[in-house]
């Protein structure tokens, strides 16, 4: 592999820890959409920067939203 390049990573902070007013809720579709891909999959925490606690809560919220047809299980078209 070529020489390893130096990067400056943007330090990621858990969005829910950073903003205490941000309430996680399975009904908040706009919020949950930020943590899913266009295809409806959850975005891993190493990319969103969520802390473990909030990622757990987030995954539950997304799953609840899927049951209520607010978010897709699988999005075939987008």
């Amino acid at each position: 592999m070529a020489t390893r390049k130096k990067f400056f990573y943007r330090r990621k902070v858990c969005s829910f820890c950073a903003d205490k007013n941000l309430k996680l809720d399975y009904k908040d579709v706009g919020l949950l959409r930020r943590f899913t891909t266009d295809r409806g999959r959850m975005i891993p925490r190493r990319i969103t920067g969520c802390c473990a606690k909030h990622q757990r809560a987030l995954s539950l919220a997304i799953k609840n939203a899927r049951v209520m047809a607010l978010l897709p299980f699988v999005a075939k078209d987008f």
Binding site: M1, N21, K27, L31, I43, N64, R66, M68, A69
Partner: protein
Amino acid sequence: MLRKYETLFILRPDLPAETFDRIKTKLTESVERDGGHTVTYMDWGKRKMAYPIESVSKGNYVYYRYLGTGEIVKEVERLLRMTDESLRYMTVVLGEGFDPATFDFEADRKDIYPFGARPREDRPDGMPGFDQGMDDGAYARDRYRDSGMPDGDRGRPAPEVGAGEGDAAADKMGEGDN
């Protein structure tokens, strides 16, 4: 002491107003008869569902928040199951230890927004995270797409990657193929 519950349920989209009222009175009366208290019963309106349920693509969402006990929830869910017009329901506990005599119903009704569509000016300025005009989701989604992780659901052409990062990513992918 009672618990606070919310039940969100989906009704068929093309119901006459009478059916709507009938379901409302059925639920609220049942809750209050068993010693519960209605906080709010809101019609959130029609919404295109993420996937069709019983071959219906649109649903009329109704939000019902009340103080009650496990027995009351059981009855509400039983009624919804028996209602042909309801497609799906979900009940979530919001908190416990509420005394209806001292509970401030008016204040509790205040910050309920359909599907979390709360007004943007509520968010404090200068806070990191999801602030006005900033979509962290788009950023995260791009990172995900560019990360080159094995992922069966990327149904779109490979995105253009920045000059520096592109080399590394290309190298990585080449290795995998051999």
